[in-house]
Subunit: 227 residues, 2 copies
DNA sequence: TGACACATACCAACCGGTCGGTATGTAATA
DNA sequence: TATTACATACCGACCGGTTGGTATGTGTCA
């Protein structure tokens, strides 16, 4: 029952554009509904296999609305990458590990957190950017660049903590914070592919644990076993 | 003129089935030409975006030939996964690092080798399986299973060396050879995604170097810096 | 009243797959 | 050896449904 209520809140069809200011239902535009739909459907079926009609159906809008807000399917993909980037930035910024004061704790907390959120359906925890760039890197430069920008943005945020931790605990190490941050993203993206191949998150979780152990190794932490 | 001659040799229509035993031209069937085409085109455009006509054109055969050898596009994808698996198995089995006698040397040689072959066009060094499973894990169970089987086959080969190295140099370690082998594949697959996003292999190379450093760490090797 | 945010109706190109047919090879029979 | 019978490999025109995209209508709000 709570589930149904939650869904209805912003899903169902007709009386969509009600109430501008007052109290409830801040109104969700067709544009945002389509972006939400893209985030869900593309992660499930892939970009090329997702049709404009699929997205309209999922969003509960018509094709007219789609092409009113987006020039093309490719245009929507670019917008979805930015939308996803904003969403995940907010998501990780408000995650519990951000409260930790030590940058190395925060980094390890980030890695733990990424492992912990591997729950539920695969299309709900995998990454939109990795999915899209894998398909479109060659055929659509715009999508490729949008995905690159969003991945790099997230990596840069991780790199900040890495750089701070390095200055504190391993100032003379030869590796760079930038590259290590990208390596964390490599492990995440690779984990998603393994999760898809094996239809479950187990191998992905184990891989992220390996990543954690590696980071601890780089910072000369003792082999702390705490799953 | 040589170009035309070369193309004619195995492409053009009529006198296809010549010479059974004698000297030259062992004859390449339409089936194999289509599998080769799939390996190339799917890695470039993705599975869903690759049309049957694309593959026929690339292979220089007609649609009739396609559906004579394969029941469907999905059927070809499954066959291509096995074809790819056979090809890569042979490829890695005959790689130079296999000559090394120490299993840990062989493992590190494998990782170096995987980094070294990140050359040329992206679609020529990325993995068909990762590309296909990313798109089809949910929509095509057959393709998903075929990709899983081929990835697992390769991982199992890597796991053999890891297990042997572990017995020799780290018999009491808590990690399993199986999981570490899967982790190497996670790093490879993730590296390909980063290479696609950044349109170049640099970040991928750096990540595979991190993987090597991690393996050295697990085996208590000193930080050997030798790019 | 005009700009905006949609909905409806529609199209041409394209896609996976089918189908009738041909060319060539092969094995049995006479 | 010639004939028949059948199998394999392949061709390419064709089909119906789908796809991204367009043209046009309509209600709402400033």
């Amino acid at each position: 029952m709570p589930a149904k209520a939650t869904t209805r809140t912003r899903a169902a069809g007709k009386p969509s554009g009600r109430r501008t200011g007052q109290g409830a239902l801040p109104k969700i535009s067709a544009r945002e509904k389509l972006l939400d739909a893209a985030v869900h459907v593309v992660r499930q079926k892939g970009y090329a296999a997702t049709t404009v009609d699929d997205l309209c159906k999922e969003a509960g809008v018509t094709k007219g609305a789609f092409f009113h807000h987006f020039e093309s399917k490719e245009d929507l993909a670019v917008a979805a990458a930015a939308y996803w980037s904003d969403f995940t930035t907010e998501f990780f910024n408000s995650a519990p590990y951000q409260q930790l004061t030590d940058p190395l704790d925060r980094l390890l907390g980030y890695i733990d957190f990424r492992r912990e959120i591997l729950r539920g359906k695969i299309e709900d925890f995998t990454c939109l950017l990795g999915t899209m760039v894998q398909e479109a890197y060659e055929t659509s430069p715009k999508i490729r660049k949008a995905c690159d920008a969003s991945i790099s943005r997230h990596a840069a945020a991780v790199a900040e903590d890495i750089a701070a931790a390095k200055q504190l605990y391993a100032p003379d190490a030869t590796w760079s914070a930038q590259e290590l941050a990208l390596f964390t993203q490599v492990v995440m993206q690779g984990s998603f592919i393994l999760a898809k191949a094996k239809h479950g998150p187990k191998a992905a979780e184990a891989s992220i644990l390996h990543l954690k152990r590696y980071v601890e190794c780089l910072f000369n932490k003792k082999q702390g076993d705490e799953p």
